[in-house]
Symmetry: C2
Subunit: 568 residues, 2 copies
Amino acid sequence: MRSHCGFHIAETNADEGAKYFFRMPDGRELPDPASRFQPEGVHGPSAVLDTKQFVWTDTEFRGHALGDLVMYELHVGTFTPEGTFDAATARLGDLADLGITAVEVMPVAQFPGTRNWGYDGVFPFTVQNSYGGPTGFQRFVDAAHVKGMSVILDVVYNHLGPEGNYFGQFGPFFTGRYATPWGEAINFDDAESDPVRQFFIQNALYWLTDFHVDALRLDAVHGIFDFSAHHFLAELKEKVADRSAALGRKLHLIAESNLNDSRVLRSPEQGGYGLDAQWSDDFHHALHALLTRETNGYYADFGSVEDLAAALRDGWRFVGQYSVFRKRRHGNCPTGIATDRFVVFSQNHDQVGNRAAGDRLSNLVDYDGLKLAAGVTLLSPFLPLIFMGEEYGETHPFQYFTSHSDPDLAAAVRKGRREEFADFAWQGEVPDPQAVATFERSVLDWSRRNLLPHRALRDFYRTLLSIRKRFRLAGSRPRVQCDEKLRILTLEYPTPELFVFFNFGESRIVPCPRAYAKGNVVIQSNDPRWPRSGPGSAREEAREPSECEVRLDRSSFVAFTRVKPLAR
Amino acid sequence: MRSHCGFHIAETNADEGAKYFFRMPDGRELPDPASRFQPEGVHGPSAVLDTKQFVWTDTEFRGHALGDLVMYELHVGTFTPEGTFDAATARLGDLADLGITAVEVMPVAQFPGTRNWGYDGVFPFTVQNSYGGPTGFQRFVDAAHVKGMSVILDVVYNHLGPEGNYFGQFGPFFTGRYATPWGEAINFDDAESDPVRQFFIQNALYWLTDFHVDALRLDAVHGIFDFSAHHFLAELKEKVADRSAALGRKLHLIAESNLNDSRVLRSPEQGGYGLDAQWSDDFHHALHALLTRETNGYYADFGSVEDLAAALRDGWRFVGQYSVFRKRRHGNCPTGIATDRFVVFSQNHDQVGNRAAGDRLSNLVDYDGLKLAAGVTLLSPFLPLIFMGEEYGETHPFQYFTSHSDPDLAAAVRKGRREEFADFAWQGEVPDPQAVATFERSVLDWSRRNLLPHRALRDFYRTLLSIRKRFRLAGSRPRVQCDEKLRILTLEYPTPELFVFFNFGESRIVPCPRAYAKGNVVIQSNDPRWPRSGPGSAREEAREPSECEVRLDRSSFVAFTRVKPLAR
């Protein structure tokens, strides 16, 4: 990368599988930052691998349109007891049956040890050896495509992991201009940044081309600091669009961003980066705070029905208002941006795993609450994402786990984790990230899936996804209304007509447009097919609803299609 | 600013002129960060001052349209021997006579001691006591307006000076997120940034309202780090536009930016900040490198006629190409942005003063070179800025001077300055910034102005400015062509028609469109009215130019109006 770096490739025709190090000017031997495979982990030699040798059988598959994406986020290591791509492949049929169209894989770049979420990866062009390595991932993508499913890969361009990180030895990968939670920022705009940008752009194209990946989820783009006149994300999008055209496949870039900045999504003509979609944490926080009434951390900014209604209207809640959590005004308004360019979820790896005990929503709200969360998310006009296990109400936690081999680092991570939750006055024990048990506790327990009420919940998700498809909700612009006092929220979709009535309050008879109240019920969350949590409510009303009312149990929802008004 | 800061104003009805400190929780007494006047300097008490009491006589004056600005940058301390606003006021008539329409005043916020460029100011709402304080500045602005001249004030929102900087004691003015050349960045996007932004927005409105300032020159906006969804500069522009409408006066924001990012100028609809104009350092560097053949520092990126032609076409030279100086690609293309939104200059305080010896162009090129530099700048379609003394070829340097009272800081500045030029292998002595002689050396010597060739040069500038006005060059889009081998550059303005032929090479007979070659000469830089530097050139051609040629001395230019082609 730097011409004075002084190393060169002596072996130009190395055998497949041959292992190598780079010998540095000071005599040290280091693995290749652009290594294709690290068969012996982050400190071991790199291995020669020609990723173009894989024999693909997915020639029919050209990807999904953005609006057709229904995402399922999984962590390879804990999705199955085996923790490999091959084991995950065996479960793809089940996901397809559920209505999933895109499997989103948490980061796969080689990390220290065998237990890690993936955000400590240090060889961006590798696939974790213990997951099955690059060919394991290729087999997985091929199998998904044959089943008609897209694969989204989570890639981390805002930092590199703390252990086995030799990047600074090879070139100007970092800059002291910006401070990030992970230390020095990756150099996207300082001197000699061009090849660093190229490195990550080539990385994106590598996955999309050699691994047939259909979309990239860009981790925390707010950690990509680029003040240059050509933002890295804009350049990345240009290059991916070119590649999409060249390959004749639909390719998408989906950002995780906490900026609430519509620039991420807007077109270059509007001064934007033109990414295809971005996550809406505001939607999650609004929904979570409403369901759990939690008020700590970022939930301090949420809690009202109107917060959720605002997120449903605009894509996110903060469009310039003061945020108590951030202690400043936050966001701008994504006016005019299509609703199917926001990814929403009631849970994801961060929102679950970044809790002290990694407890899922299934540990926090009752069964009706889980159904309500699913209803708002899957019957929204946005792109839904389901976190592995959520669909059957998995109760195993998803905890923060690592397997660093550097004892100082391991101790620091352990300590940091404990301190993080000390701030939040967390009373319980914080699991030790380095303990094997922490990892094992986080593995899905699919045996549960066939037991009631888990089986019923999965069926409920399946039904919601089929309704979502039938009514073509993605990209629509429903009318969103709410009543803070009654804690009800309604979505009114124009064509095809669908009216959804969510009750976050206590059971009661609530006003409802006559046309809907007398309409055809499409789904009712308290239908006996899906067991209820317990008695409806202490405040049950004895009288029958009038023509302009509807009865809604607590924590339930109902969706109607509209009947034409009677002629007068 | 922070509610736990714990101080409050006990005296709400203090007398005009009353001096005060704030007593901090720890008992220390500090001046007011929003002080209106520091009569005893940066460490002394603040003084109560009602800036609304000034009696204005400029009621007729409503400001200039952007395209009518012809700027004259002056440093109050060295513009006159007295170094005060009152002394500067006495020279306004002379500037008006020259054709100046806007006086641009280098920063006036109170700085340590009496000698400083102004970028070490620490009380953004004050006017340097030794310049005459706030009322001195008000008298100056009033007098300028009465003479029909706008006043532009240079304001510094990217850092605060190193001495007398008590801001950190009062609130979250700084953030550790970004590293700047001046240390921690001002907090425009971190927690509790709203009141910090407000502080600077109120500052801008204060000058525009209470001091009748017509435009602000925003120092180094590339040092304003704001990753929020609503950029500080966009917010500032909105507030200034509102104030402009409320006051019924034309107000402008002009940025100094080294980003070459058209976002600074583009409209909010295009994702921009919507500032009115910005400086083009590229134009300066291209012109300077062409005239001096210097290649050190940022001049490494320039030197060809095409570099200058590119800056004349687009507004700046780097629109995405690799910059050797920056070691990365640089800039984007300001396509479609009107030419009168770029400020150009052949000299300014930085380009002169940041040289080791502070030598002006008059010390670097001959008399013909000075005229050529003036011609390119003043006959460009951009907004020209003249650095004080440039118009008569002042030969006094403009050196870097300070008068810090903190001895450690003084020593550090002295050392830093010496080291800065050690990097550039500067052979000469670096003047001591703290020495009084360094300041005194930098004071203009107006007596020179009445001597030939200085007087003639001033007359030349005056003539160019009148041509510029007559041909309404500002905002036009001339056709720019150049010949690298001959080192010639031409500007062809459509309406009113004007053809300008610049010769950066040796004297020769050069091809020229017949219509122009036979046209009416508007100005010729080697006219006997303005003495020549010496013999024309060793390569003088004996023959007469043909109908499609023109004779141009070395380092000269000629401007023609076009004659209609003869009917054939």
